[in-house]
Structures are given as structure tokens and as C-alpha cells.
């Protein structure tokens, strides 16, 4: 008797359909001191699972929230639902291929995920990037930063229950994305930067779209912001909520807009300059409050600064090649290099070790969202369930980067 492998049917008695009593997951056993503390329920407290399928988690995140009524007593983010083992994959790929594995990490602003490994590999190869390529990188990165921040602004409103800003944000983002698609060919995962330059020079369609957009970008974004920025409900839900002070932020390893919202003017573009940023003129916007509203406002100020940078780059763009002369097969000398760029969420870094072969021996990817997600617990303790979402939205994590 042979049983051919056919399409499985749920009537097959060998397929386990759990009985109702089996649907409850067993409570996890505490493995650490901290987890034991978390799992210990006091009178009137209960656990609420937010995610992995929950309308407001950015990606596939699960947060186990210990609540007392509506009040959050403690919470424990559970990661790994999106873990792809990118670092391991990169160890098994050659240097060019590694770039397209890091590309989908932070899918909202994926140019930055390319810029960091490319920076590290260029250090390993000791190659000078042509100036035109540097300018193009700055230009595209700032565009991508604006795309990310406008989307953040809509997301933040969506997590607070406003449904309109996200769609307006997507309209703005779409214009930038279409523009970058004309330049790079892709809409989400651009895969545009190469070791030693960029893949293809600026083309006419990109430039005409860019010029078109630049003429009304600032006004349009300002107009969109009018919906939320002064809205009393929005301000009351974000002001004074999730307040982070500068000392704690530094101790927690926070970078990017979240750190600048606490009043620390730390920006890799200033403090660890890369590409042509030292030659450009721009401010590092900061706020002193450190609450959700400050984090929101810092990002909005950054959009304006980015528009300013783009303007300068377009005026100073030199002529020349966009790719350095490099062998087809990248085979750097043994060594170590750390490349970091200032992404829309903070310092995005890659630590690459070469052992002289065509594959990285070890490639460590540091994602700022990963660090910032740690803050959700300390910042929301004692607040309400609704604030968990508001604080998390204001920290702006992207789970693709967190889970790697």
C-alpha cells in the first residue's frame, strides 16, 4: 500500500488539530532575575499581549504588557519574529552581495542600510569615492531621510488614532520614492550604492522630478503639519509623556533624533563627519523637553534642514565619474573597519572584519531602533496602555532593523 503525497486535508487524522484546551500557551518559566520579577503578578494585575499581530505594532513586535487596569506596570518586548539572521547570511555572501542583504533591514529608509556597510567596506578596501558620487549619496540619503520622517509623522498620528495624516504622508513619500525609483530603478530596496561609488549617474527624469518637488516641498509639508501640530488632543497626548533626560539617554545609548530631543546636539554628520557633510551648511535641531512631542518636533525640524542640504548639494554638485576604479572581485586585506552613518533613526553602524577572502569574516550590524526599543519599558512604566503606543510611535522603531 502506498500513500502518495497529496494535498493535505484537515480531515487527515494524522494532522494534529489542537483541542480547545491546548490553545493556551503555557506560561513561560522565568530564566533570569528580571524575568522572574516581571512574571510575578501582584493583586489586580494581568498580562496583555500586544502583538505579534496587533494593529499598532510597527512590524512584527510582541510586547507583553503587565497592566493594572489601564495602567502599565511593566512591559517586556519579545523580539525575533522577523529575525532572518542577516549577519550570518552576510558571512556567507561576498562583499557586493552583503549590501543587498542589509538593504531590507530598515525598509523605510533603506539607503542608509546600504550606506553603512558600503562605508565600512570602502575603509577596508582603502578606496576614495569620487566627489560626484559623494554628492549623489548625500542627495539621495537626505531625500530618503525626508521620506522616512514624513512617514513617521503620519505613523505617529495613526498610533494616536488620527487616520488622515498617514495618507497625506504617503503622498509625500510616494513623490520621493518615485523620484528615487527613476534614479535607482527600485521603489523600496534601492540597492544603489556600490563599493566605491553609486550605480549610475543622475538622470534627467530624476532631476526633473526633484526640481518639481523642491519647488513646493517645504510648503506642502508645512501644510500637512497644520493638521496635527497644534491640535490640542495631539499635544495633550504627547507633551510631557515619555520624558527622557539627556543623562539617561546617553547612558541608554540613544542616538539620532531621540537623543537630540533631549538637548544633546549629537549628530554623526557633525561629530564623525563622512562624505561631504563637513562642507555643507546645516543646523542640528535640538529640543530640551525630551518628551514625545519634542521627538516629533525634532524630526519635523530635520525635514527642513534636509531640504536645505539638498538645495546646497544641487548647487555644488561637481562633474566627474561616479564610480572609483575597483576590481570586480572585492578581496580586501585582512583588517577591521567600522562605518557609521546618521540615519533617520540614529547611528546606523557596520563593523566588518575581513580575513582576506571575498566574504566578510564577521559583519556586525548595529541598528538604532534596536537600542531605542529598550526605552519603551522605562518610558511607559506607570502610564496608560494608550501611552505605550504613543511612546513607541515617537521612538520610531522599524522592526526590520530591530530583528535583523
Amino acid at each position: 500500500m502506498t500513500t502518495p503525497l497529496t494535498k493535505p486535508s484537515l480531515d487527515d487524522p494524522r494532522i494534529a488539530i489542537p483541542a480547545a484546551s491546548e490553545w493556551y500557551e503555557p506560561a513561560p518559566t522565568a530564566q533570569t532575575e528580571r524575568q522572574a520579577e516581571f512574571l510575578n503578578l501582584r493583586d489586580g494585575e494581568m498580562f496583555v499581549n500586544m502583538g505579534p499581530q496587533h494593529p499598532s505594532t510597527h512590524g512584527v513586535l510582541r510586547i507583553v504588557v503587565k497592566v493594572n487596569g489601564e495602567q502599565v506596570v511593566d512591559l517586556d518586548p519579545v523580539l525575533g519574529y522577523l529575525h532572518r539572521g542577516v549577519e550570518k547570511l552576510c558571512e556567507n555572501a561576498d562583499y557586493h552581495q552583503a549590501i543587498c542583504y542589509t538593504d531590507p533591514l530598515e525598509y523605510v529608509a533603506s539607503l542608509f542600510c546600504e550606506a553603512a556597510p558600503v562605508a565600512a567596506f570602502e575603509k577596508l578596501m582603502d578606496v576614495e569615492v569620487p566627489r560626484r558620487a559623494q554628492y549623489i549619496r548625500v542627495l539621495t540619503m537626505e531625500l530618503n531621510r525626508i521620506a522616512s520622517h514624513t512617514l513617521f509623522q503620519g505613523w505617529m498620528a495613526l498610533d494616536l488614532g488620527g487616520i488622515t495624516p498617514i495618507l497625506w504622508s504617503f503622498i509625500e513619500r510616494d513623490e520621493i520614492v518615485d523620484m528615487l525609483a527613476a534614479l535607482t530603478g527600485q521603489k523600496l530596496l534601492y540597492n544603489y550604492y556600490r563599493i566605491g561609488g553609486v550605480n549610475g549617474d543622475l538622470n534627467h527624469e530624476f532631476m526633473s522630478r526633484l526640481g518639481n518637488w523642491m519647488s513646493r516641498a517645504a510648503a506642502q509639508i508645512d501644510s500637512n503639519l497644520g493638521l496635527m501640530n497644534e491640535n490640542e488632543i495631539f499635544v495633550r497626548r504627547t507633551r510631557g509623556l515619555g520624558t527622557l533626560d539627556a543623562a539617561t539617554a546617553l547612558r541608554m545609548g540613544v542616538t539620532g533624533p531621540n537623543l537630540r530631543a533631549t538637548g544633546v546636539p549629537f549628530d554623526l554628520r557633525r561629530d564623525h563627519p563622512y562624505l561631504v557633510y563637513p562642507e555643507l551648511e546645516f543646523n542640528v535641531p535640538t529640543r530640551d523637553e525630551g518628551d514625545s512631542l519634542a521627538r516629533y518636533m525634532v524630526r519635523i525640524d530635520e525635514i527642513r534642514e534636509s531640504i536645505r542640504i539638498i538645495d546646497q548639494v544641487l548647487h555644488e554638485m561637481p562633474d566627474g565619474p561616479v564610480m572609483a576604479k575597483l576590481p570586480r572581485l572585492i578581496r580586501p586585506r585582512p583588517g577591521r573597519a567600522f562605518g557609521a552613518v546618521e540615519g533617520p533613526r540614529g547611528a546606523y553602524g557596520v563593523y566588518a572584519i575581513s580575513d582576506g577572502t571575498d566574504q566578510p569574516f564577521r559583519m556586525r550590524i548595529h541598528d538604532p531602533s534596536f537600542v531605542h526599543l529598550q526605552l519603551v519599558g522605562p518610558l511607559t512604566r506607570g502610564n496608560l496602555i494608550a501611552d505605550t503606543m504613543a511612546v513607541m510611535a515617537s521612538l520610531d522603531p522599524v522592526m526590520g532593523g530591530v530583528d535583523k
Binding site: G161, N231, R236, I385
Partner: protein, 440 residues
């Protein structure tokens, strides 16, 4: 045999026509024989018949109203989002919500194994019942209300408050923490906002001396300034905020805040049970808007009296037999009269296109004429139009708010009710009472 050569339509006719004629004859005979008896029965039990008819009509009203509101919400929010919104099914996507309703009907009605089955099953019924029972007292026009209760306002608040019991039942029986939180939020929110809601209309009750909604509408029948929104502006604001919370609309939709507690009390519901919650929500929006327009916006009173007298008396009885002949020929003549010039305008327009356009234009014109005639001849039609106009304006405002505002946090919401709305409504009550005392 003739049958084998008949088309399906012909066969249907061949079966139906004899049946219809026989059935019609039997029915006529029955009416002739039993007519007086039926008439006498209806006459003797008029209250019961009236009640049954009113119940059926109010129940039937809620369904198209909910469909219309769902469509309005989809479309208006889409337009404000710079989208087009539903546009595929029906003109402008208008049938979209009906299709949604059908979809919900045929979806699996799943009962999770751990729920409290009787309560779980009953909860959507209670919610829907509470919202459609309140439709009964809404004064659409003078003499056009299902049940003209003397204590209509009180009935409204009492039955309207029943809905929260259903929400609590749903939240509790679902065996889900999100549902529980949603149910408790609903209870807390409804109870808190019931108080300013009720207190804000007490001023009007003092002014009019009645709880009957038709009489409150009647009290505003003078000029525009007699509307209570101008005589009691503070009460109107409080009332508006409170009904927003009562109907669980943005910015007070905490009971089903999907970013926080997934879908609140409705998390575990699917299929038509969820449909009941969904329908009840929109029927609620309609009835609170209707209540606001009845209590504060003068209900069915026209805001302006037309400068000309709309009294048109057309006596058609003099035409005699010509009337039916004219009625039969008029559409044909009208279509031709409008279609021929269109045909003559351009050579590119085909004859059938011109005729179609002529028919449509004639149809629109005659509908407008008949509507105007009805408006002029039948006062309830004009009143109903005014009432619905006000109500739908309010509904538009609700949808507009939903497209604009984020959600208030639950503690801010409760604080707002107890710290601001309640004192304000008490102040309003005090001032009104003092004014009545002093002027009396």
C-alpha cells in the same frame, strides 16, 4: 407541443399569468367577503396595529440609514484623505456598503470555544435593539413619529443607556482581555457622559416644560433665533460633545481603539454578529444627530420662510378621462421634445443617445416638479426634508471630525467629562433656572 418551443421567459409568463389571475381573483373575493371584518378588527385594535407597523417601519428604517452612513463615512473620509474612495460598485460606489453588508452576512459566524455562549450571543442583539428602539421617538416631522411619547426625551436616555449593557456583555463574555478592557471603557465612558448629556437638556426642559420631543420641536417653531442652539449655546456644545462620546465617535472612540485594544468589545466577534455592532454604531450616529437637530436645531422647522407662498392648488379633476391619457403620453412627448433639439445640435450625437438624454432630463425635471408639488402640497414632506438636512449635516460633521482628529486618551476623556462638562452643564442649568425665575 408549444411548451418545448417556448423561451424560458415565455414559460415563466405562461406559468405566472394564470397563477396571478387566479390568485388575484381569490384575493379579491376574500377582500369582498372578509373586508369589513378585517377593517373592523384593525379599527378595534388600532393601537396594536399602529405599534406593529411602527416597529416594523423603524426596524426597516435603520438598515438603509446604516448603509447610507457607512457609505458616507467611507467616501467623505476618502475625499478628505485625497483618495477617491469606493467607486466601483454602483454610481460613485454607493452600493459598496450594501455589498459590505452582504459580505458580512455570508461570513462564518464563529464562536470561540471559551466564550460564555448565551451572553456572547445575546450581546449584539441587545446593542442593536437599544439603538433601534430609540428611533421610535424621533420626531421626523409633526405627526411623523412612531410613538409620540410624552416622556420621549427620558425614554431616549433610558433606552440609549441600555446599549452599554450590551457592550459590557460583549466585553465580559468574549473571554478576551482586549474585549474586557473595551467593555469596561465603554461602561465608564457612557456612564460619565450620560450625566452631562442629561443635565445639559434640563435647561431646555425648564424652558419648554415638557419631555416630549415633538413639543420641544414645536417650542422652536418661531424664527431662527427661537432654536435652542441660540438660546442655550453652552448646553448645545456640552450636548454635542456628550453625544459624540455616547456614539463612540472619534475623538472619543476609546471603546474600540484599534491601536490600543484591537477592536475592543468586538474583538472576538465575526460575521453578522460583528455586523450588528457595526450597524448599531452607525444607527447610533444617526439617532444622536437626529436628537441634536430635534432638540437644538429646531427639528423639522424651516430655518427661513420662503419669500413666496408655496401654496399651489392644481385641480386636475376637471380633465376627466384626459388625465390618464395625458399621463401616458406626457413622458413620450417630453422625451421627444427634449431629445430632438439635442439630436439637432451635433451630428456626432446618435439618435439613441439623444433620446436617452432626453428621457433622463425629462425624468429629472418631472421628478423635481413632482417633488416641488409634494413639498408645496404636503407640509410633512417639507418638514421631513428640513429635518433630514439638519441631521445629515451633523452626520457630516461627525465624519469630518473622524477624518481630522486623533483619539483622546481614556483618562483625559474621563477628566474632561467630570471636571469640565459636568460643572459647565450645572452652570448652564443654574443660569437657565435663575433666568426663568427672574423673568417669570
Amino acid at each position: 407541443m408549444v411548451w418545448s418551443r417556448m423561451t424560458p421567459g415565455g414559460r415563466a409568463l405562461a406559468v405566472l399569468l394564470p397563477l396571478l389571475s387566479v390568485g388575484g381573483a381569490v384575493l379579491t373575493a376574500l377582500l369582498v367577503v372578509a373586508g369589513p371584518f378585517i377593517g373592523a378588527t384593525i379599527g378595534a385594535n388600532l393601537p396594536i396595529v399602529r405599534f406593529l407597523a411602527a416597529s416594523v417601519i423603524t426596524f426597516l428604517i435603520t438598515v438603509p440609514v446604516a448603509f447610507l452612513l457607512i457609505y458616507m463615512e467611507m467616501k467623505i473620509i476618502a475625499l478628505m484623505n485625497l483618495r477617491i474612495g469606493p467607486d466601483r460598485i454602483g454610481p460613485g460606489g454607493a452600493v459598496m456598503s450594501v455589498v459590505h453588508g452582504l459580505k458580512v452576512l455570508k461570513k462564518e459566524d464563529f464562536t470561540p470555544p471559551s466564550v460564555d455562549v448565551p451572553v456572547f450571543t445575546l450581546a449584539p442583539v441587545v446593542v442593536y435593539l437599544a439603538s433601534f428602539m430609540t428611533v421610535m421617538v424621533i420626531p421626523f416631522a409633526p405627526d411623523l413619529t412612531s410613538v409620540g411619547l410624552e416622556f420621549g426625551l427620558l425614554y431616549f436616555f433610558a433606552i440609549g443607556g441600555l446599549g452599554v449593557v450590551g457592550l459590557m456583555m460583549a466585553g465580559w463574555s468574549s473571554f478576551n482581555k482586549y474585549s474586557l478592557l473595551g467593555g469596561i471603557r465603554a461602561a465608564a465612558q457612557s456612564i460619565s457622559y450620560e450625566i452631562p448629556l442629561t443635565l445639559s437638556v434640563v435647561g431646555i426642559i425648564i424652558l419648554t416644560g415638557t419631555l416630549s420631543l415633538p413639543k420641544i420641536v414645536e417650542a422652536q417653531s418661531g424664527s431662527l433665533l427661537d432654536w435652542f442652539i441660540f438660546r442655550q449655546p453652552l448646553a448645545a456644545i456640552i450636548f454635542f460633545i456628550a453625544i459624540t462620546a455616547e456614539a463612540n465617535r472619534t475623538p472619543f472612540d476609546n471603546t474600540e481603539a484599534d491601536q490600543e485594544i484591537v477592536a475592543g468589545f468586538a474583538t472576538e466577534y465575526s460575521g453578522m454578529r460583528f455586523g450588528f455592532f457595526f450597524f448599531a454604531e452607525y444607527v447610533n450616529v444617526f439617532i444622536v444627530s437626529a436628537l441634536f437637530s430635534a432638540v437644538f436645531l429646531g427639528g423639522s422647522n424651516a430655518p427661513i420662510s420662503l419669500p413666496f407662498s408655496p401654496e399651489i392648488v392644481v385641480d386636475l379633476s376637471g380633465l376627466g378621462l384626459l388625465l390618464p391619457i395625458a399621463a401616458g403620453i406626457a413622458p413620450l412627448l417630453g422625451t421627444l421634445a427634449i431629445g430632438l433639439p439635442i439630436y439637432a445640435i451635433s451630428a456626432r450625437i446618435k439618435a439613441w443617445q439623444a433620446l436617452l438624454a432626453g428621457f433622463l432630463i425629462f425624468g429629472a425635471l418631472s421628478t423635481a416638479a413632482i417633488g416641488f408639488w409634494a413639498w408645496a402640497m404636503l407640509p410633512p414632506v417639507a418638514d421631513l426634508v428640513w429635518f433630514l438636512l439638519k441631521t445629515f449635516t451633523l452626520i457630516f460633521i461627525f465624519v469630518w471630525m473622524r477624518a481630522t482628529l486623533p483619539r483622546a486618551r481614556i483618562d483625559q476623556l474621563m477628566g474632561f467629562a467630570w471636571k469640565w462638562l459636568l460643572p459647565a452643564s450645572l452652570l448652564n442649568l443654574f443660569v437657565t433656572a435663575a433666568a426663568v425665575l427672574l423673568t417669570a
